[in-house]
């Protein structure tokens, strides 16, 4: 299986993603933001970081970058596109995913382990993961998901909520909401479920010596379902 990780100036989780994808069997290639096209891929990943410094609004400049046209075309033709953290922010900026990511409720950067509940397994990203709750890691300043009431209704009606923040037992209530995200949303799909954006970083949780290894379950399933 071939994957491509897009590097924007300011991306900083590109190497981590490369390491994780390769560890679980992907043949990964790195693609520069200024390239004209993306090599043939089964999966495109927009990694975390601070693309173009995120000085205007997180992900906004990357959402208009040269390479992004190819990403949009790939996504619209049904290809799998995964955006983690800044990658999620970029996907909302392009309009491929609904909603936006605001600054965290308590206005601080948050770096810690969180639990997320998988809300929809009818897709390639979570299909064969046995667990319902994963322990992942967040590291962001703008992860507070928000969308309009109409949009919320639409994403709920279409089962587009992918993962929500919760406790170890899966209670996704306000008490277990680290950043103020609407409905504890930590990740969403597009309608067709081929595009996933999420704030938590599975690539930082891929062996027992790191903060945890539930990220492994994510990648194992992903390569298995392609």
């Amino acid at each position: 299986m071939k994957s491509s990780v897009i590097i924007f100036p300011g991306s900083n989780c590109d190497r981590d993603m490369d390491v994780a994808l390769k560890k679980f069997g992907f043949k990964n290639q790195m693609v520069w933001h200024n390239d004209d096209e993306i090599p043939k891929s089964d999966l495109i990943v927009l990694p975390g970081g601070f693309s173009y410094g995120d000085y205007l609004r997180c992900g906004s400049i990357a959402g208009k970058s040269k390479i992004i046209k190819s990403v949009i075309d790939f996504a619209n033709s049904g290809g799998l596109v995964l955006g983690i953290c800044n990658g999620f922010q970029i996907l909302t900026e392009t309009g491929l995913l609904p909603g936006i990511l605001q600054q965290n409720k308590y206005l601080n950067f948050i770096c810690k382990n969180v639990f997320v509940k998988i809300k929809n397994k009818e897709n390639k990203y979570f299909k064969n993961i046995k667990k319902d709750v994963l322990e992942l890691h967040i590291a962001h300043n703008e992860g507070n998901y928000f969308c309009s009431n109409d949009e919320l209704k639409s994403i709920e009606d279409n089962d587009q909520i992918a993962v929500t923040y919760c406790d170890q037992k899966g209670n996704d209530d306000e008490e277990n909401n680290p950043n103020g995200a609407l409905k504890n949303i930590a990740g969403v799909f597009n309608k067709n479920k081929n595009i996933l954006g999420m704030m938590p970083h599975p690539e930082r949780m891929i062996d027992q010596y790191l903060s945890g290894e539930d990220g492994s379950l994510f990648f194992e399933n992903l390569i298995g379902s392609l």
Binding site: R15, G53, F109, Y209
Partner: protein
């Protein structure tokens, strides 16, 4: 053009006799640009004029040392062609004036020092000291500094893996922000700042030059007065995004063979970087300032030379490699300009609009810089307090413990490190909050441990002992995670060197650091000195911060401090005499502030440490934590809280009073956790090596119990330990 005279020289921070020396050396009056260059090179921050004589006494050698002090950073060997480049640096003065930008650019500056040498930064650390929590400025300064450190490090994508936060009223008017970075480099591909060869192109890369930070280094060499707000324009503004690009571009260029030497533009910007490169290579340098990329219009040669705009580098390239190098910087959208060349004149010659605007022999600026043998006084060891039994009579162990755990200097600092990305790069195997941060050496079985420590209270009570103690504390933190201590970097924060008492504190702390690091084979390979941490005549307590690193040959053998399993035994390694003077207990419970710090016995320190390392390598112990501030009971409580397990403490043998035993801060001690099946073996090893140890207790339940004197649940102590900082920051 401004005419230079003595008054203007004094406004530049030079002393009368220093100005006279400049005129004598040049045999004429300098022009304003030249005066600016002299003032930048001769200030304390760049010239080390008060400290140089004493820094020579530091222990800087060892088999593991590839590069000691004198370069952008120190370099140590960690086997298999891998080397670690690391250094700590202060950004105290700017952070007090503008906490966010001051701290952010401190982090940016130290990272540049490391990647200038060809290393990819793999971990950041910091040591931050604030005034009393009750002081009106403390809360905002803390918030700003933490945001600044996070804002910069998080954006670059280098994990912040450990640090230290202290509060003491002596920092009310002078906070300390010390930032440390570790980088990984192939030991055959290290880059140095020494230029070589004549007529080699001198290249400017990175951000454009603006008017920010002019005279920053001079500001850092002055004491504060009522007008500090006016100094805000001397604080630089950081752009971590550009630094990230600069990092990637430099590493890309370094993969080739076109760089002769490279130097970041830190304090005193273009002035000190160009002069240092030429001086080390025994060369001259010619710069056309018209070619320097400027952000603002009509900048004068004086401003261009003294700007401390961030994220800039100076490179001496091999001839003919300009095009190849420019392509890399174009790719990363960074400025690239050939601004001059190396010469054999041994002078720095500056041109602007086809006119020579300055010419100074480089010797005058570097080797002939003033060096002072400042007067200093020796500190006497204070007399020991004698505590009578009556003083302890009314005290309850549990109440004392709760008070100590919620002491600002002891309590949990999660509120801070949760704002730092500590897991990016995917190799952090020990997070902040333990004895040391640990990151794997990417793609290998090795890991590097790092920590920053300071003990201003001890250094203040007796600088010589304090200097020794802080090195030992760093060493113990390495040992506690299972790392072999390799080397240290020091950031020496002191008051006004022109005062004999402050100068004495400096001299004796350096002596203490030197003695301990020599004995422990834990050499100093880099560092910086920050003097004049004084506001309106009030200086800070002497605060050397020691950044230590250690190596784990096999990261799978790393251990942590949280209690692991019920039924396991706990030992205290090292003898407990119950030293209470200068302890947290004496200060916050007994309100006694005098007396000597705990004695440092280097023999025991080394002996105990090496045995622990041996036990860890043999996988005979499950947990280790060094005993420091707050003594055994504080250390034990933290281990309990982290592991969510209780302890039954055995009755104390011997004559030591229980308060002295449980809260005393004797040095060279560790608490270790041992499985029952390893007990006999561990005891045998300890006895064979004549190591003093006490059987402290058993891991069990969810309380800490000590006979009838103490019965306290983990949840209770957790409350106080965890909540102080969080509540302080939201109140």
């Amino acid at each position: 053009m401004i005419e230079v005279n003595e008054k203007i020289a004094i406004e530049h921070g030079l002393k009368k006799d220093e100005y006279k020396k400049i005129c004598d050396l040049l045999k004429r009056t300098p022009n304003i640009t030249e005066l600016g260059v002299f003032s930048a090179m001769w200030n304390e921050h760049c010239s080390y004029k008060s400290s140089r004589r004493h820094l020579k006494k530091l222990h800087t050698k060892g088999k593991q040392v590839i590069q000691g002090p004198g370069e952008n950073a120190g370099v140590v060997d960690i086997d298999d062609n891998d080397a670690i480049v690391f250094k700590i640096e202060s950004h105290n003065h700017p952070s007090f004036i503008e906490p966010y930008q001051g701290a952010a650019t401190g982090v940016g500056g130290i990272m540049r020092d490391v990647f200038t040498m060809g290393a990819r930064p793999i971990a950041n650390l910091n040591s931050i000291h604030f005034g009393s929590p009750d002081h009106e400025k403390t809360r905002n300064l803390l918030r700003g500094v933490v945001k600044g450190i996070g804002g910069y490090g998080n954006c670059i994508g280098v994990p912040t893996i450990a640090g230290q936060t202290c509060f003491d009223e002596s920092y009310n008017g002078n906070i300390l922000v010390n930032a440390m970075t570790l980088g990984l480099v192939n030991k055959n591909k290290i880059f140095y700042s020494k230029a070589a060869g004549v007529n080699k192109p001198v290249i400017y890369v990175g951000s454009k030059t603006g008017r920010d930070g002019i005279h920053g280094a001079s500001m850092a060499s002055a004491i504060f007065d009522d007008k500090i707000e006016e100094k805000k324009p001397t604080v630089q503004v950081g752009d971590p995004f550009t630094e990230k690009l600069l990092l990637e571009a430099c590493l890309e260029l370094m993969a080739g063979k076109s760089i002769i030497s490279i130097q970041d533009m830190g304090a005193a910007g273009l002035t000190s970087s160009s002069i240092e490169m030429a001086s080390k290579g025994d060369l001259g340098i010619e710069i056309d300032l018209t070619k320097v990329p400027c952000r603002e219009e009509n900048m004068t040669p004086y401003e261009i030379m003294l700007s401390e705009s961030q994220e800039r580098m100076l490179i001496v390239l091999e001839e003919g490699k300009e095009k190849e190098a420019k392509e890399i910087f174009d790719k990363w959208n960074l400025d690239f300009a050939v601004i001059g060349k190396t010469t054999d004149s041994k002078n720095i010659e500056l041109f602007f609009k086809n006119e020579k605007v300055a010419e100074i022999p480089i010797d005058f600026l570097a080797e002939n810089a003033p060096m002072y043998d400042r007067k200093w006084i020796k500190s006497e060891l204070p007399k020991k307090n004698s505590f009578s039994k009556d003083q302890f009579k009314s005290l309850k162990l549990g109440e004392c413990l709760n008070k100590i755990l919620s002491d600002p200097n002891i309590s949990d600092k999660e509120w801070i490190w949760n704002q730092y990305d500590h897991t990016v790069m995917g190799d952090t195997i020990q997070k902040p909050g333990g004895d040391a941060g640990v990151v794997r050496v990417h793609g290998t079985n090795k890991a590097v441990a790092a920590t920053v420590d300071s003990s201003a209270t001890y250094c203040n009570a007796h600088p010589l002992t304090g200097g020794k103690q802080v090195v030992c504390e760093s060493w113990r933190n390495m040992i506690s995670v299972g790392a072999k201590p390799i080397a240290i970097t020091n950031c020496l924060n002191f008051g006004n060197p022109e005062k004999e008492k402050n100068m004495g504190e400096f001299v004796e702390c350096v002596e203490g650091i030197s003695e301990a690091s020599k004995y422990l084979n834990y050499p100093v390979v880099s560092g910086n000195v920050s003097f004049y941490n004084e506001t309106k005549d009030k200086g800070i307590k002497p605060t050397p911060s020691i950044g230590g690193i250690g190596l784990l040959a096999n990261y799978k053998k790393m251990i942590t401090m949280e209690l692991k399993k019920n039924g396991n035994y706990l030992f205290v390694i090292g003898k407990t005499e119950g030293h209470l003077d200068q302890s947290v207990f004496a200060r916050s419970i007994l309100s006694r502030f005098e007396g000597p710090p705990p004695e440092v016995n280097l023999f025991n320190e080394k002996h105990n440490g090496l045995i622990i390392l041996n036990l860890i390598n043999k996988k005979l112990i499950e947990t280790c934590h060094d005993v420091s501030l707050g003594g055994i009971l504080t250390a034990l409580s933290k281990m309990s809280i982290k592991g969510n397990k209780g302890v039954n403490i055995f009755p104390i043998n011997g004559l030591v009073n229980k308060f002295e035993y449980l809260f005393g801060e004797d040095q060279g001690r560790y608490i270790i956790e041992i499985k029952p099946e390893n007990l006999e073996n561990v005891e045998k090893i300890l006895k064979n090596d004549s190591i003093h140890f006490d059987k402290l207790g058993l891991v069990e339940g969810s309380e800490i119990n000590y006979g009838n004197d103490l019965k306290i649940s983990i949840d209770d102590i957790k409350q106080g330990y965890k909540k102080w900082l969080r509540e302080y920051m939201v109140s």
